[in-house]
Every structure is written in structure tokens, then in C-alpha cells.
Symmetry: D2
Amino acid sequence: MTQVIVLNGGSSSGKSGIARCLQAVLPDPWLALGTDTLVEAMPASIQTSDGGIAFAPDGEVTVGPEFRALEAAWLAGIAAMARAGARVVVDEVFLGGADSQQRWRKALGELRVLWVGVRCDAAVAAGREVARGDRITGMAASQAELVHRGVAYDLEVDTTHTESMECARTIAAHVE
Amino acid sequence: MTQVIVLNGGSSSGKSGIARCLQAVLPDPWLALGTDTLVEAMPASIQTSDGGIAFAPDGEVTVGPEFRALEAAWLAGIAAMARAGARVVVDEVFLGGADSQQRWRKALGELRVLWVGVRCDAAVAAGREVARGDRITGMAASQAELVHRGVAYDLEVDTTHTESMECARTIAAHVE
Amino acid sequence: MTQVIVLNGGSSSGKSGIARCLQAVLPDPWLALGTDTLVEAMPASIQTSDGGIAFAPDGEVTVGPEFRALEAAWLAGIAAMARAGARVVVDEVFLGGADSQQRWRKALGELRVLWVGVRCDAAVAAGREVARGDRITGMAASQAELVHRGVAYDLEVDTTHTESMECARTIAAHVE
Amino acid sequence: MTQVIVLNGGSSSGKSGIARCLQAVLPDPWLALGTDTLVEAMPASIQTSDGGIAFAPDGEVTVGPEFRALEAAWLAGIAAMARAGARVVVDEVFLGGADSQQRWRKALGELRVLWVGVRCDAAVAAGREVARGDRITGMAASQAELVHRGVAYDLEVDTTHTESMECARTIAAHVE
């Protein structure tokens, strides 16, 4: 039985929409958690501190040791939720590509995970970023390729020409 | 010179995304206002009062005289903003079809308006409603055709297979 | 009959809470609109353009000619809504003190306006800014006194030790 | 060393504001998580399903077995985050009073916890609920006493006449 679905993709690639659709089409109730939840849970000061998270005007995102420490505990917590019986869809941005996946693999251990790459053409994702009215732009373009480097997937979906709901149905068909 | 762009379409048809993209691609600064802004500005009680606005569990939306009175003043206000020199993109849901357009025509008077129909296949819009995580669903499907009944447009776009940004560029090409 | 209530106060002084309470306690339905609505309606680029609006790291807010032009049209629009019969509570930050009030006076013309100063001790407002989790801090402190300079009120309330609802009741007692 | 701070109080009692202030005044970075995060992470359907969570028009909240199962896993996850080194402020509504606390005690096990009761006069909390513009009202009043029944605290704060920041400083003085 699949216990965790990890959706990895750049900003504005459509991950959170797919997560919501997965919650609607999968027969059991799943929790949807992700990078945005974690950033929201951190102190506001993490966005100005040296070891925190920084959003450059061009959309580049960099994270430091303080952020990493909280993130590691967050990963351990998500894993524990899954071990305790909750099924969890995780909506992630692997800024470190293969290294990020390795951190997740270590945290999730023996849990049965479905690794899903969520791709979207960079220009299309950049357009969607504008459509959402985000004040900081550039993340979609800068992350579109970066987050997939060296990452191994069970399954990839591409939202460039496919709706979130259809991607969710494709993913759901791979959930045991 | 186009002074007002009215985008009319059902819930989850992609109007607000197009409005944000229009603001990004049009050379002058435009204000983006819409039904959501108006509903947000109204008293919370308007959603429970008999003469206000009601969202049925199946997504049907009905409005009463109290809502209509505030809406009429809102239309007059939008028109006045345009007369005072602001260019305005309006993001609307013509629940009354041609009657709604007539109310807008009357309010906008001599202003130069670009009327744009924003269409989206009902099933696709319903999927996007789920992807957005809206707690109330059904509005997308129930409004998809309804809001276009008897409405005359200068231009129609369809977001079923076309991105908000591309729709915005098409519309922008018609702005004088 | 009072047609417009203008609430002027610094960031985190409690204006929008008072506006919501006024909507609840006043017998007629009132629209609540304000600076936040206007900023949200503007293009995202207005926050990075030279003539737009800028939020300094210390909380100072400066606005340029592009912002002022859209704001002037916005004021004309609010006035038109009130002339068309909507009663409107405006939630404002008079960055220019008396000059800001003068712009509103001119826009509102013959309308019957209740001018309300919303005061809050700077340190208390700064604490509430932190409690709201705002990423940009400092606005509360920098605006607490500034926005009241030279402004004439019919009535002042102070949220330092008084709840929004009680302030709203005091104001409502002055509404004709 | 305190590893978890549990803030328990009714809706609109000011818990989340205190949590944000705690994050600002405590020297280490703390994660702030709570009931709202959990409800947001659940499927939208949990709010309409029989075993989920229901918000009655009068503000009463009831939860069923599906909700409880996900909540139990969530508690295990929070505990795991703390064991992995993150310090966590939890913002909770003990609908079941002492039973709710017992569930948390069991989940948190050997972790060092500071139990904080956040009280607020029911009428004042109800006023703040209106000020926030919540569409559903009544939760503040119905929960004000209920959530504290039989719960044991290390410390209680009362936001009726005390700011979030001052409450946070009081709590911070008890953090080891």
C-alpha cells in the first residue's frame, strides 16, 4: 500500500493543484502538506536571517543551516505521520535535486513511496506565476529544470498541456 | 482608447488569471477589480440574509435586492474610476446573462469598453475548481454556459486549451 | 444621513477590524473598502516601479505619481458609489496627513462624511503587527503618529485599550 | 529544555497571535503549527463527510472518526518533529477538554512540554471573531469555556485585557 506520494516540481508547475485533485479522487482521506506549509510555520525572521531562506529578486531561492535544521525535523515528522497511519501527499521543491531526494529517502526509510516528477515548460510556468499575481516572479523559470536534476521517479506528469485533474488520475492509477 | 475591459465568465474559467496577465502585458497600469472584490467588501451578513447572496450546496448562486442595490452602486463607482482616468479590467460573472450586461452597459455609458467572453469547458473548469481547493464546488459547472446567454462580445477567449497569458496577449491586441 | 465613514489610522491600528464590526452593528448594509483593496487591485509591478509604491525594510512606505494617479481615480470611484446610494466605510492610511485628507475632501465633495481617527499606541501596534505574522514589520511604528498630522476628525477612537467592537459602537452612535 | 509549547484556547482567543509573537521573542527558531494547519491539510470533503468535521451555523464544531484518525497521525508527527530537534509551538482547540489533553500527552510522551491555557472573555472573543470578518460566527462564544474543562496547565494567560506580545513574553519567561 502506498503510504506517501512525493510530488516534486518547480514553483507554479501545478503541484498543489494536483495534490488537491488527488485528495478528491483517491478513495481514502489523504493529508496534503508541503514546502509552503513548512515556510509558513517558520518564524517570519527566517526570511531575513543569514541562515534562513532568501528569495532573490530574480526568483532564485537559497536556504541556510537554520532552515535545513527545521526542514530535517519536518521530514521526520511527515514520516512519522505516515507510519502512524495517515496517507500523505507531499508537495515539494527539490532545490538541491538529487541531494534533496536523498534527504527524503533517508527520512521516509521503509515507507512505501510513490515518487512523482511534476514537469511544466518553463515559459508556461512563468506565465502561470504572473496569472497567480505573485509579487515575486522568476521562481517558476529558475526552478523548472533545476529541481529535477538527478532525481529518480516512479512516474512523471507534465502539466504544460494536461490539467491537474487528469494528472491526478494518472498518478492515482499508480497508487496501491 | 479602451477604458474598461470587461471579462465575463463562469467561476474557475480563468478570468482573474487573465486579468493579472493583462496587467503585466499592457503598457499602462490598469486596476483589476471584480465580483470577488465586491463580495469581500460586503457585510458578512449578506451571505445569510434573505436579500443577499446565497451559495447553494450544488454551486448555484442566487442574489437578492440588497445585493443588487450595493452592486448597482459598485458599477457606478467602477464607471467613475474609468471616467477619472484609471483604466480598469473588470472580472465578472454575469449570473443574469444579457440582463447583467445591460446593467453594465447602462453604468458604463459612453466609456469605451472591450467586452470579452471567457469560456472554459464545464468539465475542465470543474476540475480546476477542485484543484484550487474551494470548499464549495459546483459553481464552475453550473455557471459555464449560463453566464454567456445572450451576451454580446467583442472578443472571446477559451481557456480550455489556452494559457491565461496567451489569452491576455490576444485580448491586449484588441486594446486601443 | 451619513454616507461615508472614513477611518484613518496607521498600519495595525485596528481599522479593518473596526470596519467589519461597523458592518455588523449598523442596521443598513455598508461596503467596506480601503487602501488594501486598492493596492491589491493595482498591477504587481506597481510595487517595483519607480513611480509606484515602495515598502522599505524599516516599514516606511513611499508612493509615486503612478500610484497617485490610480489613487485619485479610486477616490472618485468611492465617491460615486456613495452618491449612487451605497454607504461606504473607508479604511485609510493618510501617509500625507492633512494633504491626504484634503484629497479625500475634494473627492467626496458634498457627501456627508464622518471623519474618524483610529489611534493606537505605537508600541502596541508594533506588537500586533508581529502577532499578525506580517513579513514586513515597522509600518505600525512608523505610521502611528505620522498619519494623524494636521488631520481634523469628528471623532477619535483609541484601540490601545479598547476592543474593535466597542470602538465600532462608539462610532455607530455618531452615524446619522 | 522545553521542546513543545501547547497553547490551548477557544477560537478567536488569540492563540495564533501569541504563537507568532513567541516565534519573534524566543531566541531559537520555533515552528508554529496548529489545528488550522491540520484542517487545511485535510481533503475538502472532510468538511462534508459524516466522519469528518462539521461547523454548525451556531458555531458548534463536531468531529468524527475519519477526522480523529488523521489527527492522531498528525499528533504523532508533531511529536516526531520535536524529537528530531525542532522546537514547536502548537496552537490547539481542545474540543474534548481533558480528553484532548490526554491524547496530546500520550503522543508527546517524554518530551518536555509547557502547557498554556489561553483564556479570553467569551463576549470579547465573539467581538474579535466579528472583527476578523469570519463568515461563520459563534465558535468563539461556544468554545470559550468548553476547551478548558478539566485541562491542567503550567501557565495561563488571558488576552481579554492583555496584548498577544505581553502574553508571549510571560510564556517565554517559562520556557527553559
